[in-house]
């Protein structure tokens, strides 16, 4: 089962949890100083170290140059790889679990970027899975490490644990209350970042935000995870109480039902319109106004992104064709 098809803890507010570890092999220059042959060699070393025993059956090894541009962008839309990784395939490879919950980017900014994505709020479990892979790798391959600076990374911003953890939150009530900027400033003082997950930096769409840790040096993995988890729980509690007030408002309930009506009957839906109406239907589903499972909305959010729609069609579509396909997919899912 893929992460976006699963139900999980706090799924009414938390879409997903991601944990990423950045690692480099001690004996090779970092990716920006490697040519294609050097990168291929690094990829093979990591592949051979990791894909043994059971993992050989549950993971696929994919050379990025064998994928089409659309397939690459679709992987980025599913958050399985970074946009940067999707934009250039030379000398890059991906180790992907069949469930698409573990993705290991090879020769992105660092030699190895292990990423685990789980549904709902699941930080400790996601870290544990990432850590297991890191342990398996570091027993077989010497990892670039310095006792003072921790894991050595190509960009010094990731020094230390090389750990980036994040949770994706649906915060329609808090963003309607105008509290987001204040909240972002508060969590920044605690070493975390809260920003829109979709849309331009200043204008997030779909009320979906990403909360992640910023500090990697001078803090243990456990402390970073705990810190993020406790702030996430506080934001969840705030969103819950803001939702209570919002759901007493008949005007808002009316908007949820109208959004539901449009999503069920529209012949064309742009990505932006779906994001906006989907946010209303999601809160309706989460709070029992509408009788649909909330993960239906998560699945739609992933499957109706432009390149993922193209991929499902096996070809590149015009924006208008995509809007028709999107509306059809939404209609079917909400039936």
């Amino acid at each position: 089962m893929k992460w976006y098809e699963n139900n999980a803890e706090h799924a009414d507010i938390v879409l997903s949890t991601r944990v990423r570890l950045a690692r480099n092999l001690k004996d090779y220059p970092f990716p920006s100083r490697l040519n294609e042959a050097g990168k291929n060699k690094v990829n093979a070393v990591v592949r051979d170290a990791l894909l043994t025993g059971k993992r050989a059956k549950t993971f696929d090894y994919v050379e990025m140059r064998t994928l089409s541009h659309t397939q690459c962008v679709s992987l980025a839309e599913k958050h399985l790889i970074s946009p940067e990784f999707a934009s250039d395939s030379e000398g890059r490879a991906l180790i992907l679990s069949k469930d698409e919950d573990v993705s290991i980017m090879l020769c992105e900014e660092d030699h190895v970027r292990v990423q685990v994505i789980y549904p709902g709020l699941s930080l400790e479990a996601a870290y544990e899975t990432a850590n297991e892979l890191d342990e398996a790798l570091s027993r077989k391959v010497e990892i670039a490490f310095d006792p003072r600076l921790g894991y050595l990374t190509q960009c010094p911003t990731n020094l230390g644990t090389g750990l980036r953890a994040s949770v994706m939150l649906h915060l329609p009530a808090l963003s309607r209350s105008g509290a987001m900027q204040r909240l972002a400033n508060t969590v920044a003082k605690l070493g975390l970042i809260l920003r829109g997950a979709y849309g331009e930096g200043s204008k997030p769409v779909g009320d979906i935000y990403q909360l992640s840790n910023q500090v990697t040096l001078g803090i243990s993995e456990q402390a970073a995870i705990k810190n993020l988890e406790s702030i996430a729980n506080q934001i969840i509690a705030q969103e819950k109480s803001a939702r209570e007030a919002l759901l007493k408002d008949d005007v808002f309930i009316d908007r949820i039902w109208r959004a539901w009506g449009i999503l069920q009957s529209a012949h064309m839906l742009s990505c932006a319109e779906f994001m906006e109406l989907g946010s209303l239907v999601r809160i309706g589903a989460a709070e029992g106004v509408l009788d649909i499972p909330v993960q239906t909305l998560t699945r739609l959010l992933v499957e109706t992104q432009p390149a993922t729609l193209n991929c499902a069609q096996g070809r590149s579509c015009t924006p208008a064709e995509r809007d028709v396909l999107r509306a059809r997919a939404v209609k079917e899912a909400l039936r």
Partner: protein, 181 residues
Amino acid sequence: MLCQNCNQKEATTHIKRVVNGEAEEHHLCSECAKKLGYDHFLDDFSLSIPNFFSSFFHDTMPALKGAGAEHCGTCGSSFEDIVRSGMVGCADCYDKFFDRLLPSIQRIHGRARHAGKTPHYTVEPDEKGADKVAEAPKAQTAEQQIAALEAEMQKAIESQNFEQAAVLRDKIKELKGDDRK
């Protein structure tokens, strides 16, 4: 290149992100980057800012431009290469240029010291290339072995197989040492 937002200042921040199914690249000045919400030293999952560190270097350390052409023995990077690209060349660069990198590292991380886990590398002898190399040329004389190993090392370096090259270099050293006895 000028900032694509204000068209006035030099673009120092390069952002790649997925918009409408296409990977787009944006070049922004530091002020516009901040205004548009890209003001963190963050390469999270939804966007990456590979050159942020570079712009940050230029902002804070202009005096270092004439620092000379000392190179890292492992990857060949000079400190200027690192400043220009915003990328450290290899693990040994951190050693070689530690004093010069430290001020910037501290600007990002403070005076912190690593507090997380440590890797545990356990050598598994039957899996190491070194032992396979050592076994094969047993019947040869020491000179033949060294010549073969040196050729192999050269090949390894050419194909950027540095791990293998390091193993071979140690092997050659060992053989040459034995000869002198």
